[in-house]
């Protein structure tokens, strides 16, 4: 059965203070006064805090229908919605409640870093002050204004790059620096970060280079050629762009980085293993955009592109008579044959692999002279 509805006219009891905010370590005396309509007396009441009964020793009857409780050295609130201090009647029924907000004022937010995608927007992130835990819900507001111009602006889109971040999507000016700061506020106070000054052009990042192609270099077994396009959004401005390539073998997690690619849109990787699949990625830094003296911010890596180095099909050695090892299998068999002959055919001891080699050399020489004629 649903619990009985109480009369709308009278709240069963009133707690004071109602929903107070307190500093950690402070003390509090709260009172619960029962409505006369309920015919309850002070001795019929008891208190709980976050569901746990408070000791009767901390109670005091301040009147026939008023019971107080003393709380000392309060710890930070168990949950950000406030500690639940509840006044009960003897049978456990809830008469009234008060939410206690116990915590600390916020600390100055720190480490503000920002980046602009293609000079079109600005995203900033920061960290809460050192301690972090205030036990109270803390609101962060990112503000910005152009230096030398009066108006403060407030960032609206939060949590775009993590919990402490904000995104400014438009109406950003170039060539004049911005002043940026973060305000933290909660029920106990406000804290403002130091002001960061930056020029949008100094924090530009862009998209990863598109159209990354990796191909073989003819038959060369240890090289691959990488080509890409300059990121389209900044294509007309990337005179001094820097690129970086990283590559790894298919079954390894160690990336090798090629750092000195400069601003070309192609590069040749050398010293690779033949017949191996490689994964390659490229990224871009819009260095020195519009004459900025600073490096920009590296883009994300492009999606990995795979390619394999050729593996030569020929057996080692070929037909070169110099240097020894010719048709290895045939030679090995012959050696075994002569060994057998030596054991079993007394008298043909002159027959050996060395004789066979000499015969081969003579064969080559006569072949050559025949061709030269």
């Amino acid at each position: 059965l649903p619990p009985p509805f109480l009369s709308p006219a009278a709240d069963p009891a009133v707690i004071s203070p109602q929903d107070p905010t307190l500093l950690i370590g402070s003390s509090l005396v709260a009172t619960c006064t029962v409505s006369p309509a309920f015919h309850l007396r002070a001795e019929d009441l008891y208190w709980t805090l976050n569901g746990r009964r408070l000791p009767a020793a901390s109670y005091a009857a301040l009147g026939p229908t008023t019971l107080s409780v003393a709380l000392a050295h309060l710890n930070g609130s168990k949950q950000q919605s406030g500690d639940n201090l509840v006044c009960h009647s003897r049978d456990g029924g809830i008469l009234a409640g008060s939410c206690l907000y116990v915590g600390l004022p916020p600390e100055k937010p720190v480490n503000i870093t920002c980046w602009s995608k293609n000079m079109k927007d600005l995203t900033c992130k920061w960290a809460p002050g050192t301690e972090g835990e205030t036990f109270l819900h803390t609101n962060y507001t990112l503000k910005y204004k152009l230096r030398w111009y009066g108006r403060d602006n407030t960032c609206q889109e939060y949590h775009t790059a993590g919990p402490y971040s904000c995104h400014i999507p438009k109406d950003l000016a170039l060539f004049t620096p911005y002043e940026i700061w973060v305000e933290a506020s909660n029920r106990l106070g406000v804290a403002v970060s130091d002001v960061v000054m930056l020029d949008i052009l100094d924090v530009v990042t862009t998209d990863p280079p598109p159209d990354v192609h990796v191909s073989r270099v003819g038959d060369l077994e240890d090289q691959l050629s990488v080509r890409w396009s300059s990121p389209p959004a900044l294509k007309d401005f990337l005179f001094q762009a820097k690129y970086q390539i990283q590559y790894r073998v298919e079954d390894s997690s160690e990336w090798k980085v090629v750092d000195d690619v400069g601003n070309q849109t192609s590069c040749r990787l050398a010293g690779l293993r033949p017949g191996t699949v490689y994964f390659v990625q490229v990224r871009c830094n819009p260095f020195g955009i519009y004459g900025s003296k600073k490096a920009g911010i590296w883009s994300d890596w492009s999606n990995p592109t795979a390619a394999s180095t050729p593996r030569s099909e020929r057996a080692t050695g070929g037909c070169d008579p110099k240097g020894g090892e010719q048709n290895t299998t045939l030679r090995r068999e012959l050696k075994q044959f002569f060994g057998w002959v030596k054991k079993h055919a007394y008298g043909c001891s002159n027959l050996g692999i060395k004789l066979y080699d000499q015969w081969r050399v003579w064969l080559q020489k006569s072949h050559k002279t025949r061709n030269q004629v």
Binding site: P4, Q79, C99
Partner: protein, 219 residues
């Protein structure tokens, strides 16, 4: 006379089913499937609510998240439509009344849910709440779809919470927590009840039935 005319019409209609634009047969063929879909949605929401309620009640803190918590239901909580109903009354509901009760209840519950403190809680909680509201909106639309496919008019009246002066917002934070608790409880009860409502409707409108509606015009 008239009955002969109706009979002829019926025969002609049955023979020429695809050619009759006024009958809109696809909608009625679909009523059975819509009811099934709505039923499935209530089960899905019930599952989602379990996680959402758990997270939200933990945010409210003890005693709200204790399993046997049963606070008094103050009169102000009356604004949340109650699913609890007398059994015979429930059995005797017409299809239209049954659907309308569901439609009205979830429309109001959706409004109250959306008004839950947007700033409060962790980003995770706000995200879950947002996701649940989207799904709940889907349920409201699904019920509306079933009603229109069966030819019932949608209930009119304010979709949002009625706002009598002074009682619309809880006067203190603790009472607001109690309101939030009861909102979640009532949502849970409604989802349990709706599963039974739609199960009942499923049996009365099997998927393959085509119903013809005759408008008495000149027969």
């Amino acid at each position: 006379g008239d009955s002969w005319g109706i009979f002829t019409f019926l025969c002609a209609a049955l023979c020429n089913l695809p050619a009759l634009p006024a009958l809109n047969c696809t909608e009625e063929l679909g009523a059975g499937q819509s009811i099934q879909k709505t039923y499935d949605l209530t089960r899905y929401l019930e599952h989602q609510l379990r996680t959402l309620a758990g997270t939200y009640l933990n945010y409210l803190g003890p005693p709200f998240n204790e399993p046997d918590f049963n606070p008094p239901r103050l009169a102000r909580a009356e604004r949340v439509p109650s699913a609890t109903v007398d059994l015979d009354l429930w059995r005797g509901l017409t299809d239209n009344a049954r659907l309308a009760a569901n439609y009205r209840a979830y429309s109001r519950l959706l409004c109250y849910l959306r008004a839950l403190d947007g700033q409060a809680g962790t980003a995770e909680l706000r995200h879950r709440l947002g996701h649940f509201c989207s799904s709940l909106q889907g349920l409201v639309l699904s019920i509306a779809g079933v009603m229109s496919s069966l030819g019932y008019p949608l209930p009119v009246g304010p979709a949002g919470p009625p706002a009598p002066p002074g009682t619309s917002v809880a006067p203190n934070d603790f009472l607001k927590k109690m309101d939030d608790f009861w909102l979640l409880k009532e949502l849970q009860t409604w989802l349990w009840r709706s599963a039974k409502d739609f199960n009942r409707l499923k049996k009365k409108v099997p998927p393959a039935v085509v119903t013809l509606r005759l408008e008495a015009r000149g027969f």
